[in-house]
Symmetry: none
Amino acid sequence: MEATLCGSYEHSIDVKGRMSFPTKLRDILGPEFYLCIGHDDKFIAVYSPEKFEEYQEKLSSIPGKKGSDLRRKLLSCCDRQIPDKQGRILIPPQLRKHALLEKDVVVIGASNHAEIWDKKLWDEFNERVTVDDLSDALEDLVL
Amino acid sequence: MEATLCGSYEHSIDVKGRMSFPTKLRDILGPEFYLCIGHDDKFIAVYSPEKFEEYQEKLSSIPGKKGSDLRRKLLSCCDRQIPDKQGRILIPPQLRKHALLEKDVVVIGASNHAEIWDKKLWDEFNERVTVDDLSDALEDLVL
DNA sequence: AAATTTTCCCACTTTTTACCACCAAATCTG
DNA sequence: CAGATTTGGTGGTAAAAAGTGGGAAAATTT
């Protein structure tokens, strides 16, 4: 079993559109990974090649017009990234726009994938979603 | 069956954010462990890699937006720690904030995990919760 | 072919991490 | 019971790694 992606890391996008990707997450994800549209909020989802493969297969299994529209929409934004020697990646403009990334960003680990958030939006998320609010869901979680 | 984590140990966090982790608990937990948000009070929960794995899998099983919010919220704060040669670990700022850790802390063993409390909060807990108050739950407990 | 954009790499700065040495407390031994 | 030894805890320093800015080379476009 591969290690779990976790933790949060603050970085910033420079004038060239580059951002350094957290070393600890890179160590787990491997030398290359895929940037995709995040589904249930405004962020960029980061998958290892294996996870990306799974993602794609799931997409392919959706039938009809809805399926092909979805594939078009989602896959057209995906981008394979190989960090440079300094561990930086380039954020494509469409994804940057989708996730509303300005300058300061937060990268978080979320078990099988990572997520890139604009810092402001992440701070808002953290204010909006508190551990107390989720406590009912947490009751079953005690080890 | 591995040994039970128990006892309480007073330590303090130095200017660098380091604290020495009790030797007796380290001997049981092993060479590395995970720091996570404590759920039902203000503290840091400490899990062995195996327990953390379980924790993560339980989290992954929660469906829907609530599930992904929960994973985001909780896993973004988790941190894998390997104590240095002196047995010290580094407390990440978010977790320190969550558990309201100032300088003096108490580490307690709680069977399958450990907990890091701010000393003040732990003292308050001990005043608030007495064995007498819990006596009804204790009746079935006689060996 | 010139200019602009993109990619890759170098070097400096800052942060992090690992190690070393000292101090205190507890334990052991004569 | 007292000195000695070992073990655990703390502060500080040095080395390593990560992060950032900038510049040169390659590729692309006009």
